[in-house]
């Protein structure tokens, strides 16, 4: 508990001083503000920059399309920000031998890993919720029509949060496996994008984590029983990844 408390404080200080909060803010909340605005301006941009009027080819822009567009962009762009910002969470500690004094002072690996995970999971949840709520109210103000409700926005935030909590656990595990965090960052981004391909396959998609994103973008849906396998799989993978990270750290030389 001592280690957890100290490392939680350390992670918060580190995120503040190394601008991780700002980078994650740009990847989520800033995007929540920019996305509807860009979508609103898109017809005008197309009209002024193309010789023929192509606005007729665009789908009808209402609150639903704006919200779904943001959710899709958040996954595509937010994952890049997430992966490259947090890729060195464990690897840089090991590579630069920063755990020597903490370890000799009594720090336990379980506490270190849990503090890192819970801190950034909390940050991601707060940012994702704020992003979806910001986007919801902004979309309501900018667009007309559609069936977008606050419930749909909250549901999307919950499902995205769970999904990114899973990615975070896997990223921390990967970060403990490689000396250079860049490898962990690239692998997690490729993993996230590749998994979304499986959303095309109706037979297996509901067992995979990316199904959470698919359901988040379904404005008319709800928390139904089809989500249970994906939630169970994601929760299990989070637990397994954390346990494996602690196990891995116990096995490696930190000096």
């Amino acid at each position: 508990m001592q280690t957890f408390r100290q490392y939680f404080k350390k992670e918060a200080l580190e995120a503040l001083r190394t601008n991780k909060y700002i980078i994650l803010f740009v990847g989520t909340i800033f995007w929540a503000l920019m996305d509807p605005l860009l979508l609103k301006l898109l017809p005008m941009i197309l009209e002024s920059s193309l010789p023929v009027d192509m606005t007729a080819l665009l789908p009808e822009l209402n609150r639903d399309t704006a919200f779904v567009n943001f959710a899709g962009d958040l996954f595509e762009i937010g994952t890049l920000f997430f992966g490259f910002t947090l890729m060195g969470l464990v690897s840089s500690e090991i590579r630069f031998k920063r755990l020597v004094f903490p370890r000799v002072s009594g720090a336990g690996f379980g506490g270190i890993v849990l503090a890192k995970y819970i801190h950034y999971a909390a940050v991601l949840i707060v940012f994702i919720f704020t992003a979806f709520m910001t986007n919801y109210f902004y979309t309501i103000g900018l667009f007309d029509g559609g069936f977008l409700s606050i419930e749909a926005a909250v549901r999307a935030a919950v499902l995205y949060s769970l999904y990114y909590c899973l990615l975070l656990a896997i990223l921390i595990l990967l970060s403990s496996l490689f000396k250079r965090g860049l490898f962990a960052g690239i692998i997690i981004i490729v993993f996230a994008y590749t998994m979304s391909i499986f959303n095309q396959f109706a037979g297996i998609r509901q067992y995979l984590p990316n199904y959470l994103l698919l359901k988040a973008q379904d404005i008319h849906g709800g928390f139904d029983s089809t989500l249970i396998p994906a939630v169970m799989v994601s929760a299990s993978l989070i637990a397994i990844s954390i346990v494996l990270t602690v196990y891995r750290m116990r096995k490696i030389d930190i000096a």
Binding site: Q2, T3, R5, Q6, K9, K10, L13, E14, R17, T18, F96, K97, R98, V100, F101, P102, R103, V104, S105, G106, A107, G108, K251, D253, I254, A255
Partner: protein, 308 residues
């Protein structure tokens, strides 16, 4: 007490430690001396539990390091050769982290932090980010972190390598002070004069093998040269004649006003030399038993080891 038995470590094909065994007595300063790459830091890292060995046993105060690592860590302090910190923190914040991890009480935390920053002469720069510190400043902060919770066993890996002469002198004084407080210190250094000043026992390590482990007292006795160097006011021709035929004199060489006398019976030589010379009219200016420095012993031992 620390007991190391047949410790082994490989880095791929390179055998960094080849079944080394040694013992460190409680409350003593144990010096690890050797060339760069001899295996000193690897041994230190394994003994502090930060690195896994490929074989062997380490017993610290009756506990097995591999089984009781989490318990033993409470008794250990470590100053690595190239300490690494969270560069965005300042010294106060870093020592507070260390204090929190070592279970220091909040009221004690602030007092001890101030005390240590004062001791390592960092109080003035304590509010600056560690990333902006010089190597010497980082080493001083590392020392403060290593001794924060007053560990009874302290590992110091080249503790004065980045320090200025003043800092080095202070470091040696601190080691002596800690020794007086019954702290067991394992000191790795290639500055042999430092080892000579503070160590009770030295362990010479070369190419992953221990080539000598002995108390300094015994070491000097073993490696002492039975040669007396005597300097006279005038050329000592007559004195040389007086001494050369004595049964305990093995060899005698003369150079200018100096005589070097190699003996085969040290006790007789000590008893009789000055008595004999006092009868002559040539005044003795200096008289000393030629003593080997640790450096000479080290070089000789390493050379002998290489010849094997």
């Amino acid at each position: 007490m620390i007991k190391v038995e047949k410790l082994r470590k490989n880095y791929g094909r390179l055998k960094a430690l080849k079944d080394i065994s040694f013992e460190v007595q409680k409350g003593t300063v144990f010096g690890f001396i050797g060339r760069n790459g001899a295996g000193k830091t690897t041994t230190m890292n394994i003994l502090t539990g930060l690195m896994k060995s490929d074989g062997g046993k380490i017993i610290i105060d009756g506990m097995d390091l591999s089984a009781d690592r989490d318990e033993l860590v409470k008794y250990i302090g470590y100053l690595p050769e190239a300490p690494s910190f969270y560069d965005y923190m300042n010294s106060y914040e870093y020592l507070e982290l260390i204090a929190g991890l070592s279970g220091c009480r909040p009221e004690e935390k602030k007092k001890r932090t101030g005390e240590l920053l004062d001791m390592v002469r960092l109080k003035k720069d304590a509010g600056r980010k560690i990333g902006g510190y010089s190597r010497g400043m980082k080493q001083r902060l590392a020392l403060a972190a290593a001794i924060f919770d007053r560990p009874p066993i302290l590992f110091l890996d080249e503790p004065s390598s980045a320090l200025d002469p003043e800092g080095r002198r202070e470091m040696l004084a601190l080691i002596e002070e800690l020794k007086d407080e019954n702290t067991t210190i394992i000191l790795s250094t290639h500055i042999l004069s430092d080892a000579e000043r503070v160590c009770d026992t030295v362990c010479m390590i070369d190419e992953g093998r221990i080539i000598l482990a002995e108390s300094l007292e015994v070491l000097y006795k073993k490696h002492i040269h039975p040669i007396f160097d005597i300097e006279f006011e005038a050329r000592p021709e007559k004195q040389a004649d007086m001494l050369k035929d004595l049964d305990w004199v093995k060899d005698l060489t003369s150079s200018g006003n100096k005589l070097s006398l190699e003996v085969n019976d040290m006790d007789k030589a000590k008893d009789q030399i000055l008595g004999i010379l006092s009868k002559s009219e040539n005044t003795v200016i200096s008289y000393r038993l030629r003593k080997m420095q640790l450096e000479d012993i080290f070089i000789g031992t390493v050379k002998d080891n290489a010849d094997i």
